[in-house]
């Protein structure tokens, strides 16, 4: 099945016999069994079955099956949010005294979780420059337990060399975790470049309409859990092979942290997946057009987009993302004040903290998503005070261009 077909059909494996042509929303907390023996067998793992929606749910299972297929993985777990996915993966791999290596240009919420939450439990995070692949190797030591990167750093717009970083991780015998939220399986399957675990905020392009929060973890099957520095997962691998980590998450970490998706949200993600490839094509085309318009505009001082031929990431983005570069870009009008006036003048694009919506979205990262980080930290993360982030939507491009043109003109008037 080609990905466009799999996105529509792969998850539809429900045992539902009503003939429903959409995946049913199993809006239930729990699952009844006729006998005490049968439910005991499921609890003990001697028989498969649903127990409680915090652990698994048939609607969510359909979403997980579709994501597994689209990523070419061996299994998936859907979560309540992208942060729940990242938190579950990290907490499933690290203990006090361990270290995480992460690219510095990643989402501020992820950096905050690693440093401010896991830091409270004795886990250290080393932030390195995604553009300098060797820095990952230099950061590795015997306490390292995972390397974390984003396919395109948000909002730094840097593109790490996934294959080279996967080789560094594997030489250190640790997994590479790749957040592919901004690229989705339509642009890249990180597993084909050596990534071991893929995480998504499905709230973004996968949902596509800004209607539900969700996340997902996909094991690509590349990492041999019987040989890593994770004794409890190694123990599980004796009976579950490469599914050991997903079982570790499902039956301990995710189960006990409780970040499960609502069945309704899993349904909305499945609906989003059906049109994902169509939307990504339009998102990416509009982003290229908007980048050309902004680059040629005399009032625009800087544009950062990996699809720009003069971007330092252009060749790598082409190689990794099949000629497309996503729909996220940043630009500057020269000052924070002009950025604020521009945002206030927009009529079509919305000013909010999200990306991947059908609507064009903007935000001033420095004063919002990154407001809790100081100037030095913001600089390390690639956040400039005058930077505007744009998530380019799927509206008619002429309407997006007109809106940006008039808002840029208004931003120059004081």
């Amino acid at each position: 099945m080609r990905p466009e077909t799999a996105a529509i059909h792969a998850g539809f494996v429900s045992a539902d016999r009503s003939g429903a042509s959409a995946v049913p929303i199993h809006q239930t907390v729990s699952y009844a069994y006729p006998t005490a023996e049968e439910i005991a067998a499921v609890f003990e793992g001697r028989a498969p079955g649903y127990i409680y929606t915090r652990i698994a749910n048939p609607t969510t299972s359909a979403l997980e099956a579709t994501l597994t297929d689209l990523e070419g993985g061996i299994g998936s777990i859907a979560t309540a949010s992208g942060m729940a996915a990242i938190a579950s993966v990290a907490m499933g791999l690290v203990r006090a005294g361990d270290e995480i290596i992460a690219s510095a240009g990643i989402f501020g919420g992820t950096v905050s979780f690693f440093e401010n939450v896991l830091g409270r439990f004795g886990v250290r995070t080393r932030l390195v420059d995604a553009g300098d692949t060797d820095t990952f190797g230099r950061a590795v030591n015997e306490r390292s337990r995972l390397i974390f990167i984003e396919t395109i750093g948000n909002p730094r717009m840097d593109v790490p060399d996934i294959r080279a970083i996967a080789e560094i991780a594997h030489r250190a015998n640790i997994p590479l975790v790749v957040d592919s939220t901004v690229t989705t399986p339509v642009l890249i399957r990180p597993g084909e470049f050596g990534a071991d675990l893929v995480v998504h905020s499905t709230s973004k392009f996968i949902n596509g309409h800004g209607t539900a929060i969700g996340g997902a973890i996909i094991d690509t099957g590349n990492y041999d859990w019987s040989r890593g520095p994770f004794p409890d997962i190694e123990q599980l691998s004796k009976s579950l092979g490469r599914l050991a980590f997903l079982s570790h998450l499902r039956n301990l970490i995710c189960r006990d942290l409780g970040g499960c998706p609502a069945p309704m949200n899993s349904f909305l993600m499945l609906q989003g997946l059906e049109t994902l490839s169509l939307r990504m094509a339009k998102h990416c085309a509009n982003a290229e057009s908007l980048t050309r318009f902004l680059s040629d505009h005399s009032e625009v001082s800087r544009v950062s987009f990996p699809g720009l031929p003069d971007s330092p990431w252009f060749e790598r983005a082409r190689r990794q993302f099949g000629g497309r570069a996503g729909a996220l870009l940043t630009f500057s009008l020269g000052s924070k004040e002009r950025a604020f006036r521009f945002i206030a003048a927009l009529r079509l694009a919305k000013n909010l903290a999200n990306l991947g919506d059908a609507k064009t979205l903007v935000i001033h990262p420095s004063s919002t998503i990154y407001h809790e980080f100081g100037p030095a930290e913001q600089q390390q993360m690639g956040i400039e005070a005058d930077m505007i982030r744009v998530s380019v939507g799927i509206e008619d491009f002429d309407d997006i261009q007109k809106d940006f043109q008039q808002a840029i003109e208004q931003s120059s008037r004081i």
Partner: protein, 75 residues
């Protein structure tokens, strides 16, 4: 033809694909099972096209919750 299914020897009268084996062995909740063939987890899309050979080792695995079980067969 003989297979090792979840560690036990199983004799079959004819050659089967993985999809056919799921039916033959009355595997519970086949939509949720992961299949490991000779140590490699198969993609779901491979179930219908992967023919089993004499001596193959097949494991039916679940990570759907509850315990950490491996055996979803009824027999």
């Amino acid at each position: 033809m003989k297979l090792i299914v979840n560690g036990k020897e199983v004799s079959l009268d004819s050659k089967l694909t993985v999809s056919e084996l799921l039916v033959n062995q009355h595997v519970k909740m086949p939509e949720m099972v992961s299949v490991e063939l000779n140590g490699r987890i198969l993609r779901r899309s491979e179930f219908g096209t992967t023919a089993l050979g004499d001596g193959d080792a097949v494991e039916f695995l679940y990570f759907m919750g509850g315990g950490r079980g491996t055996d979803g067969t009824t027999n």
